[in-house]
Symmetry: C2
Subunit: 361 residues, 2 copies
DNA sequence: TATTAGCACTCGAAGAGCGGGAGTGCCAAC
DNA sequence: GTTGGCACTCCCGCTCTTCGAGTGCTAATA
């Protein structure tokens, strides 16, 4: 367990240096950099012990040392000095986030893009929502063949659909259906929309042209879509910045995995840090494709059954502290914006003004 | 101009072979493959002439020949045998496209993804819309602090926005505003929404709480967003499949360009083919980053001021005929679905049922 | 005159061989 | 426990060589 203070310092120095240079680090380099007053020979002894303890490894005899996943783990858990971003940096991130959020409606995908830009690694963002329901239906009669369905969901997103029918529809029918749907289809989840319910509604509305089923289909679509987790990946190409991905095959495999979608998420275990950051190092990842990469994940709370993650993927030799610090700010920003009471949705297609939201707290 | 029939055959054989293998092709290989009954020596003579004519080049003395951009151009214009996809393939593409379009609302980005899947090259899709207007406003009063704006645009997309105010709003005011906006803000473009217009509307509605400006802001946002061209890139990582992008730097540069967005579009010149396919070979591209890649573009017509492109990017040695054939089907499918009268939008967030649309013509 | 076979030549790719040097492990001295 | 010293190891990068595919040319052939 307890390894000597000096070993820790040396380990930290190795990891820091390796993160910086991506090359095995030798005893002399450490003697020079870390401020512990001892000579390379001493450090060599310590390094040898760190190797036998499993924190470091040598690519081959007479090369420098490289951290093992266990070494990174130790580094992340205990040694890493928490990066305290400067005020300017923090402000810059917040400003850029605000700007993104103002300009665009697709919050989550934009924030994932921002994360990728800030860290220079590929980033991904996920949301999971549960138990979304429709709070209210409105049906706008446009002309005899056309109407618009508008649904306000429980998470304060609005969905709509323009329906164009080959037959004429009576405005009265539309009104009847509107009432019926507001009575029968609100506050229920997708699986509660049964054929039975649809049929009885159709009869009650005296609908002979199948308008009911169109609206019901929309309802199901909206509900199941809203509950489906959504994922965005951005900046896959930044992978190629990293020397460990100079091998095109390796890069290709990982990029394929990333753009493929089906992420194997880690079990929702305990967090590494109080601030909600998780670090998954190399083999700690569940997905085979990530076994020699690392993932840093920040979770945010978008209120109301919605929880999301925003994460960054890189080589095991990644700059954990900076990345963690930046993600932390992003996640906090998202929580603040999305979690506070009226929650605009992740990846939804509409906007929400919360007047007076700007700035305070 | 006119080069002998045999030269053409040989040139075609070189291009075909090079497309297949990505390696300089030698005289012997051609003698074996192409069915012209002459020996490698003869072919060598012809090859030498093709080189001096500028259709081929040699990476170095005593290597096989590789097509020049001019060679590809000749190939695309005259020699390439139009790939006639089998019925199954065509049906497969159509089926997959239908499936995508049924499942998802974001037509264009999905089709771009599909194009990338089908061709195994990165794909991009763009739309340009002009002169979109709002045809009709509806404002749904939800509660004293909340209402939903719904706008039906001239291209039959529907946009909405949930507005949440810190102050109570009178339902009457909302109704007045609804009428005023329908009278004053429909059928105009973004730049016609002047402060003057907004102010006079505000006065006419007797609005003291700034609701008018919220709706006006939404109007401007919707209109300018609808007119802005949108672009989607998918499958950047497929670039790495191509041997010419085994050099990570090269791959990185192009991928950076692709995910960067700002595409330098080719002048809207004449098309190579009657079926609306354009091929831009290597240096024919305007963008510096594309100078040694090729782009195949199909245009589709989404009716009503909307025109789009769907394209594929690959090495100059790309499989022009297959790609062109596949894009052609996709573009035709898009035109059919989007162009026919009531046009569901590109990249918009709502859906359109056109009953009875299935299949015919 | 066009085609073909033959042959010497060219040039890159792949492999072998060879320092150089960074880094180690160990030992003896402090 | 620390340090300097030193022999040793092994990768990296270099050159050198070989190998072979493919050429260009020439002379013979239809």
């Amino acid at each position: 367990m307890g390894i000597s203070e000096r070993k820790k310092k040396i380990l930290a120095a190795v990891v820091d240096e390796y993160i910086r240079t991506a090359e095995p680090v030798g005893s002399k380099a450490i003697a020079a950099s870390a401020g512990l007053g001892c000579s390379s020979a001493t450090i060599r002894n310590e390094l040898a012990e760190l190797v036998s303890l499993g924190y470091l490894e040598q690519p081959h005899t007479s090369a420098g040392r490289v951290p093992t996943p266990m070494g990174y783990r130790m580094y992340v858990n205990e040694l890493m000095q928490k990066q305290k971003l400067s005020l300017e940096e923090t402000e810059d991130i917040n400003r850029r986030m605000n700007q993104k959020l103002r300009e665009l409606d697709d919050t989550i995908s934009e924030v994932s893009r921002l994360a990728s830009q800030l860290t220079d690694y590929p980033a991904l963002a996920l949301t999971t929502r549960t138990a979304v329901t429709i709070r209210r239906f409105d049906i706008i009669y446009v002309d005899a063949n056309t109407f618009i369905i508008v649904a306000l969901l429980s998470d304060n997103t609005v969905k709509n659909k323009l329906v164009h029918l080959p037959v004429s529809v009576d405005q009265k029918l539309v009104q009847r259906l509107s009432s019926l749907f507001n009575a029968g289809f609100t506050n229920i989840t997708a699986d509660a929309v049964t054929p039975l319910l649809i049929n009885s509604t159709e009869r009650a509305a005296d609908d002979t042209m199948g308008v009911t089923s169109v609206i019901a289909a929309f309802t199901i679509e909206v509900l199941s879509e809203a509950e489906a987790p959504s994922a965005y990946v951005s900046g896959e190409n930044r992978l190629l910045n990293q020397p460990e991905f100079r091998d095109p095959d390796k890069a290709h495999r990982l990029m394929g995995y990333l753009s493929g979608g089906g992420y194997v998420l880690p079990p929702d275990g305990e967090l590494d840090e109080a601030d909600g950051i998780r670090v998954l190092i190399g083999p700690e990842n569940v997905a085979e494709e990530l076994k020699d990469s690392s993932v840093v994940i920040a979770t945010y709370d978008a209120g109301d059954n919605t929880r999301g993650m925003i994460g960054v993927i890189g080589p095991t030799r990644m700059d954990y502290s900076t990345v963690a610090a930046k993600l932390s700010i992003l996640a906090a920003g998202l929580s603040k914006r999305l979690g506070g009471g009226v929650a605009p949705p992740a990846g939804m297609h509409n906007k929400l003004i919360i007047k007076g939201d700007s700035g305070n707290e």
